[in-house]
């Protein structure tokens, strides 16, 4: 094996991955150009103007809310000492395990007219007691804030941990009060992290089409789902998908603008943590109460509700007899998650390897191009993938080869591929973070001693990255378990996952039956989330030796 050709393989892998990731987006652009004016006319009737309005309003409210809740809680838990602060520090990330569509299901049921909160109010205050209208955009936004604030919280905590202490201390020494010091010194310092968190929140909000539907909110992503699943109007779905994609891109641009190139990573690694100020009396309890309130609304009440529902109808079908559909859905979810984790793990290692053996710019570009999948909202990626599948089908049919029809009507292999595109960034950044402390000269040394890249992969990179791959696989599996829009749009008939089952049973108002699959998702996802972030937040690893990011997927935004 000549070193030259051996060195080319990882580069080819990087480029192949980049092309695969880019294909759905390219297909959308080609699709929208080729669609002509027909779909626009049909969309006029479906109300895309109103949908765009709700989407923008929702984005604004959710971003604002997560910044206030996530940023506020991060400052509270980092800068002050109060009862329960240590536990709250890591418990506050737990909503990451509760998908928005589960939270929305629980709260729309609890808040509905016949639900316990409204009937309780009527019992106390009489039948004409006023209750705020529930099926509204602000309520949907509040639910999404509870589901998504941990992104902002985690990034803000990381920023406070590594950057805030010295400047804050200096500002205090120079005579600023604690609040003014926070607003004038810490807030500007944390701006890049807050912007990055807000971006992630906004992208997740764009992807969501299930949570909002419980509250009767009609967004562009809801439109995509309805136009595709209801009418199979591919051109119209394409147009809507491109609209959402443009929104996502402008959000990326806005984040970059907000950051204005600033990245306040300290030239000298400053790892002194903030010295938390003890709070006393009522203020201390107010701080504890704020954390408890958020945790209660986002985790405790939803889980308790799901447990109650699961207890009323454990494993029962609609007629009360044993229902094997839950077990089948659980098996499908597990299979899908395992395969996506395996594929992402392998590709991520190959990409990290490629970037290390060949440090030229075009390799770097290809590797980073593969990471854009995370910025494409789920429903958009799904429609793009459909267009690609349709093109492949046409090609297969023309060549007289079988299998094309299955590709278009949905296949597990297709699902795994699209999931891999979506979650590759998460996998890659996690693996790369584990290798970041390893000097590139180690790779260079192995290469210069004559080892072909394949051997460098097997004997240097793989052994070193192993723990990172494991973490990446777990994180990707959790995200795949929670994912809903892609699986709903692309699954083969009869292939129900836990997420699909929750969605379908909820759509049929069989909330109690949706309890068990929803609870399963939350509990399975909570375990790794709790274990990983508990360690990160309680004993931050020394950043000089091994700068693992608090949240791997978040680090990407800084890249």
């Amino acid at each position: 094996v000549s070193t030259r050709s051996g060195r080319r393989t990882p580069v080819l892998v990087a480029w192949a991955a980049a092309c695969l990731v880019a294909l759905p987006v390219l297909a959308l652009v080609v699709g929208v150009v080729g669609a002509g004016p027909g779909p626009w006319r049909r969309l006029a009737a479906s109300g895309w103007v109103g949908q765009t309005g709700s989407t923008l309003a929702l984005l604004g409210l959710v971003v604002l809310g997560t910044l206030l809740v996530g940023g506020g809680l991060a400052w509270l838990t980092a800068a002050y000492r109060f009862p329960g602060r240590r536990a709250a520090s890591w418990l506050l990330v737990l909503p990451l395990a509760v998908p928005g569509y589960v939270l929305g299901l629980v709260w729309s049921s609890l808040l509905s007219y016949p639900g316990p909160l409204q009937s309780g109010t009527r019992a106390l205050l009489g039948d004409d007691a006023w209750f705020p209208p529930v099926r509204t955009l602000p309520v949907a936004a509040a639910v999404l804030v509870l589901a998504l604030y941990p992104y902002v919280y985690l990034l803000a905590r990381a920023a406070l941990r590594t950057q805030a202490a010295t400047p804050y201390g200096a500002a205090r020494t120079l005579g600023l009060g604690p609040v003014r010091a926070a607003v004038r010194v810490v807030l500007p310092l944390a701006r890049p992290s807050l912007a990055a968190g807000a971006l992630l929140v906004a992208l997740e909000t764009l992807s969501d089409f299930a949570t909002v539907q419980y509250f009767g909110v009609d967004t562009l992503s809801v439109g995509i789902y309805r136009v595709w699943r209801g009418q199979f109007d591919r051109p119209a779905a394409t147009v809507l998908a491109v609209a959402v994609l443009l929104l996502a891109l402008s959000l990326l641009g806005a984040e970059r603008l907000l950051r204005r190139g600033a990245r306040f990573s300290p030239a000298v690694r400053d790892t002194t943590p903030l010295a938390p100020v003890p709070l006393h009396g009522a203020r201390a309890w107010a701080a504890t109460g704020a954390c408890a309130l958020v945790l209660g609304l986002a985790v405790v009440v939803p889980v308790a509700t799901l447990v109650t529902w699961s207890a009323t109808t454990p494993l029962q079908g609609p007629d009360g007899s044993f229902d094997p559909a839950f077990l089948a859905a659980a098996a499908n979810s597990a299979l899908l998650a395992a395969q996506v984790a395996a594929v992402v793990g392998v590709v991520a290692v190959l990409l990290v390897h490629a970037a290390r053996v060949d440090r030229r710019r075009r390799v770097h570009g290809a590797v980073h191009a593969t990471l854009t999948g995370y910025a494409v909202p789920g429903p958009v990626l799904a429609i793009g993938a459909l267009l690609v599948f349709a093109a492949v089908r046409t090609a297969l049919d023309a060549a007289g080869l079988p299998g094309g029809a299955a590709l278009v009507t949905g296949s597990v292999a297709g699902l795994v591929a699209v999931y891999a595109v979506r979650f590759l960034a998460l996998g890659f950044t996690t693996v790369e973070a584990r290798l970041a402390g390893v000097s590139p000269s180690l790779t260079a040394a192995a290469l210069s001693l004559g080892a072909p890249p394949r051997r460098v992969l097997g004997r240097v990179h793989l052994p070193l990255a192993r723990s990172g791959v494991a973490v990446a696989a777990v994180l990707v599996a959790v995200d795949a378990l929670k994912e809903l829009p892609i699986v709903l749009l692309l699954r083969p008939l009869g292939f129900d996952t836990l997420a699909v089952r929750v969605w379908q049973l909820a759509a049929d108002s069989r909330y109690e039956m949706a309890g068990l699959p929803a609870l399963t998702i939350v509990l399975v996802a909570a375990l790794p989330v709790a274990l990983l972030f508990r360690r990160e937040l309680l004993d931050p690893p020394p950043p000089v030796r091994l700068p693992a990011p608090a949240a791997p997927e978040l680090e990407l935004v800084h890249a």
């Binding site: 007219y113 016949p114 009767g216 007629d319 299955a406 008939l493 759509a507 108002s509």
Partner: protein, 345 residues
Amino acid sequence: VPVRPTSARRRRALATVALGVLPALLSGCGVALGGDDGPAIQVYSARSYGAEEAFRRFTEDTGIRVEFLNGNDAELRERLQSEGPDSPADVFMTVDVANLALAAEQGVFRETSSPALQAAVPEDLRDPSGRWFGLSVRARGIIYNPERVDPASLSTYEALGDPALRGRLCLRTSTSAYTQSLVASMIANLGEDAARAAVEGWMANDPQIINNDVEIVRTVAAGGCDVGVTNHYYVARLLAEDPDLSVDVFWPDQATSGTHVNISGAGVTRSSDSPAEAQRFLEWLATTGQSLFVDGNFEFPVNPQVQPVEQVAAFGEFRRDPINVGELGRFNAAATQLLTDAGYR
């Protein structure tokens, strides 16, 4: 320290990957299988719950096995179209007439001429050329809370625009096929102008627009609305779970055009390689198996010889709109436009 990857380790890794990938390729097939001998038919069915028992009894009665694939109307229709003449489906069964009519238009069905089906299924509930047949009836009733509403004050769908009901009305979202087909029937019966005036009347009452029927029934029963419009079987299902629920069904338009109904129905596909067995399946469902097929979901039988289940019979007899249900599809686009114009979400 780098560890030397042994070949055993490599093999184990390969085996893991293979184990992960193989089942997934297989798990794409969600078709339920019965025994493995004798004739069999494949049914693409949009009926999500309770059809299995009827299918099983059909096999017992006739020796014809039933393999079925569940999905929603539109996705099954899309799949049939995509599979074309290679489709394994013998029967396509939907829960909505619009999808039957569309599938018929797309050439999915073959024409079936069956005296048994013609006798069992009334003329207005099947395709004139025999491409599809209604198998159960779902009526769009006005539901009310008997503690708050005197049913004598109710009359027609358009009368729900009565200002007395201001703020007391619960309706289903405009994206629902049920809402669209109801408004389509109003256009067919009253003409577009009167239908528009009726929908504007509803909107003037500032209705709560709720995105599922069960929620509407529960809200009416809890007193959140006095009056709503839902399919009758949701009321029956909830009353079966809780007989104390304060809700009842009123049959509208009895003095005029009759209550709007939709059907769940099926047809034999053009691609079927066992059309005789498929036809026998439809005949059995409309006759011997009719009760079994409709009762589990609290629907009305299409076959006038068959009595509805007790909870449904309790709603009383009614005269249905005699228009052929397949005709309503023609007015669907007009209905959607009208709803959008009226500001109905």
